[in-house]
Amino acid sequence: MHSFGYRANALLTFSVTALAFICAIASFSDKFSNQNPSAEIQILNINRLKKQSYGNDEVSLTLDISADLQSLFTWNTKQVFAFVAAEYESPMNSLNQVSLWDVIIPDKEHAKFRIQTSNKYRFIDQGHNLRGKEFNLTLHWHVMPKTGKMLADKIVMPGYSLPDAYK
């Protein structure tokens, strides 16, 4: 009962259990943080709205995105992944979500930013429903912890629209 093997086994089991417990508590502590992020998006310009050769509409636009996500960072946060998605409805689809731009925020200092950029990913419809389309721009964020449960949330900004004709 007191051999090296038994002692090593007991030590290993105990340390793994203790580690698992500490990870769980670290993750639980995230529940107590106070979070109030804010964001604002403006469309600076609709660069192109065209119909592709095989029928789908495509939009290219320039956005001005400003956001303050500093309150999302806790001691257990590894990074925050933020992205802007255009959300709209079309006759065939009850929901379309197209990610236009994303960023990985590694720490609190980088969490307050303002950037002007054209869309990183192509905004392509399934069909040709984008003329005059009204859509929401939603800033989603995904908090990835150093250990434990991940948290995702968003701010919906409605009221954007596309031109009525191809350009």
Partner: protein
């Protein structure tokens, strides 16, 4: 020669009993691990409730060697979720983020496009030939939590199977040589 036969008989009977006891306790360990694994599959609703991150395509969030806890529910798939999916014809699951969703009004079917955070382009290159979208049946689960570094054990055992054999051999020896 009578006492020799007696000694041999008594030694044999002790050994057989001990061997059977140890075989049964080993069997109990194996079956209880299986029970826990199947219970996890039931609770999380996913065919593989825990996966190991194998590539660097989601860095710096998920490093190679982290393990992810998955959960699958009937909730619709939305942009931003980190999903684990299988491509037809490949058996290694891929863990990437959903960047585009198109959900049909009539059927509720959904077209999904994914991309690794650290990759320059989306996953269309990874999908099967001519496949442009993923559908619900490709997706095995959503990542809901993770533990760093723990998956290295699995990676080492898969890439250098000799270590797996050494480990199992050592465990077997430990069980056989222990007296209680």
């Amino acid at each position: 020669m009578g006492w020799l036969g007696e000694t041999v008989d008594s030694v044999k009977s002790i050994q057989i009993r001990q061997l059977l006891t140890q075989a049964i306790s080993l069997g109990m360990i194996v079956t209880s691990s299986l029970i826990i694994w199947k219970a996890l599959i039931c609770v999380t609703g996913s065919e593989s409730p825990v996966v190991v991150v194998l590539s660097e395509s989601m860095e710096p969030g998920f490093q190679r060697g982290d393990i992810l806890f998955l959960h699958m529910s009937k909730d619709p798939i939305r942009a931003g979720e980190i999903v684990v999916f299988n491509i037809d014809g490949r058996d290694i699951p891929i863990v990437h983020r959903v960047i585009k969703v198109h959900e049909r009004k009539n059927t509720g079917e959904v077209d999904v496009l994914t991309k690794g955070d650290n990759n320059p382009g989306d996953d269309r290159l990874l999908y099967a030939k001519r496949q442009l979208w993923l559908h619900r049946h490709h997706i095995m689960g959503r990542a809901v939590g993770f533990l760093p570094y723990v998956g290295w054990v699995t990676i080492i055992m898969t890439e250098k199977p000799i270590i797996k054999y050494i480990l199992i051999g050592a465990l077997g020896l430990l069980v056989i040589s222990s007296r209680d």
